[in-house]
Amino acid sequence: MTMARARWAPATATLTLAAAVLGLLLAEAAPPTAFGAEVDDAACFPCHNNPKWRMEFTLPSGETLSLYFDKDKLRGSVHGALHCVDCHTDKLSGFPHDKLPEGWDRRDLTLNLSTTCQRCHPQAHRAIAESVHYGALAEGNRAAPACTDCHGAHDVQPVDQARAALVQRCGGCHQDIYDAYARSIHGVAVLQRGSPDAATCADCHGSHKVRNPQATEFRARSPWICARCHANEAMMSKYGLSADVFRTYLADFHGATVALFRERPSGRLDAAVCYDCHGSHSIVTVDAVTSPVSTENLLKTCQRCHPGTTSNFTGAWLGHHRPSPRRFPAVYYARLAYKVLIPGVIAFFIIVITWDMVHGIVQRMRSPRLERARIKEEEP
């Protein structure tokens, strides 16, 4: 990651955190007030929307900030109907504005102003509060993303129409991962062909509730994330891919282990998940020479968990294929044999047993009569 860890500023971070926590607590208790009732936008525009007067403001930190606001940008965004003070609540007091606290820089302004979003978006805020991003922010990493870092401020656009833009936003901080992704099969499809299906960052990691992908919990859940698309028959058929991969994975050692691990997680999860073999951000098609599961590379990939194994070892994995008379015939016929043998043997047992049981019951019912008949015969 190239994300630079900003210098620790205890006072501002504490303030930000306090504001955010307070905001979280109050989110539902206090719904937004009547939008823009107190201060009309017209009051702001003479200064902030004056093309001839592009205000430069010097922040307490010494940084400069343009106070010019492009009205058209806001009108063209999803928030076109909002008023300035709906978000800039600190400006409700009118003019002159309150002085900024000592030492504030641009980042302080951004982090502080982002706490205003939850007034309308409490659910998104609650989700964020569970994310690694929020965790980093709470630990004092001021570079961790605030709402506007991903969504923009005045120019917020609908999220579902911008898959490539979303990836680029993430790439803004996660440069290395972006570079790997951009070369991957998913990345090429999204960034170059505008695919509506191929996975973006958010499809796997979520958007607001981004969890730590190094955690065991994520690892154990990950095959089900891939399965959302790769077990989807309709979507896979569009690309000539097998939708059987998830079912066959669960039927084999690795998948069964992961499925049962999720039932009661304990310790580390060693069994391979999808990305252990296929790669994650840099994933390419399985036939590619660079793919870790290509014929040339498969043994090396297996050896990462199974050191010392030899070339035949890879054949123990059926490569997500269902055994058939042509592919893995020995496995196919072994299965077939037990499909015949088990019902055959057990049916034979049950027939013999039922027969014996019925016969026994009949005998017992008849025997008192036989007994009586015998006694009668013996009587003179």
Binding site: L260, F261, R264, P265, A330, A334, A337, I346, I353, M357
Partner: protein, 258 residues
């Protein structure tokens, strides 16, 4: 129960073997089938109860190992009884067993008045015993293959592991279903045969279940015991068996890794 006579049927070590086998079988079936049927809720419940999949695997391998050791003991104890002590190998299948099966079918069909009279082991007990022996060989063989797939694939193609997995699961399911039908019916329902727990059987039961053996016992046909011969054979058997045990344990020690 005045005058009720009992016949000794099993010695204490054999009773212990049965308990051990029942324990191993139950634990292996529980831990194995819950992996085989991992998508079913009962399997998930078993795994959760045992503390997770890693523990389930450990328990499975542990009881697999105990079962292997018990099988080695069983084989040596049998060899000792048969070769050294000259105890007749009554579990060996004979043509008479097939005739008995046909006889039972005829009797149940009403084609014959008399139910076949059995010796020490009836055909149905032999079916069960040899199915158990065969099943154990298959399960131990395929189980060890799966345990050390890395070693196996140095020699065999990888597909052998996939086949071993199919056989291990199929044979297990067959064994469990066979126990639930054949064994439960013959040893518990038709007549609860307590002799494997008490070691003895009453005269009445013997008359019903093992009349030919009872006749032999009544005749008092006790084989000549040649103490000198036994001692001579012991002198060969004991060192040889010890050597085999040591070799097997060393081999097993190299093979298994938890």
């Amino acid at each position: 129960m005045e005058g009720r006579r009992y016949y000794q049927r099993f010695t204490i070590p054999l009773l212990m073997e049965h308990w051990l086998l029942a324990l191993c079988f139950t634990m292996l079936a529980l831990t194995g089938l819950s992996q085989m049927f991992s998508t079913y809720s009962w399997a998930k419940a078993v795994v959760a109860l045992m503390g997770g999949i890693e523990q389930v695997r450990f328990i499975h391998r542990l009881f697999g190992l105990i079962m292997i050791l018990e099988s080695i003991y069983h084989l040596l104890a049998w060899a000792y009884r048969t070769v050294v002590l000259h105890v007749p190998f009554t579990m060996l299948p004979r043509p008479q067993d097939v005739k008995d099966l046909i006889g039972v079918i005829k009797y149940n069909l009403g084609l014959s008045e008399e139910r076949p009279r059995f010796d020490r082991y009836s055909y149905e007990q032999k079916v069960e015993y040899w199915a158990m022996v065969w099943g154990t060989i298959v399960m131990v063989g395929t189980g060890l293959m799966l345990w050390r797939a890395d070693l196996v694939t140095r020699v065999l193609p990888g597909e052998a592991i996939a086949v071993a997995r199919v056989i291990h699961g199929g044979e297990a399911l067959l064994a469990v279903l066979a126990i639930l039908t054949w064994h439960v019916y013959h040893a518990h329902i038709r007549h609860f045969n307590k002799s494997i727990f008490t070691g003895k059987m009453s005269e009445e039961e013997m008359e019903e279940e093992h009349p030919l053996e009872l006749e032999r016992l009544r005749r008092g046909a006790i084989p000549n015991v040649d103490r000198a011969s036994i001692r001579r054979k012991q002198a060969i058997f004991i060192p040889l068996a010890s050597l085999i045990v040591v070799l097997l344990l060393v081999g097993l020690g190299h093979l298994i890794q938890f």
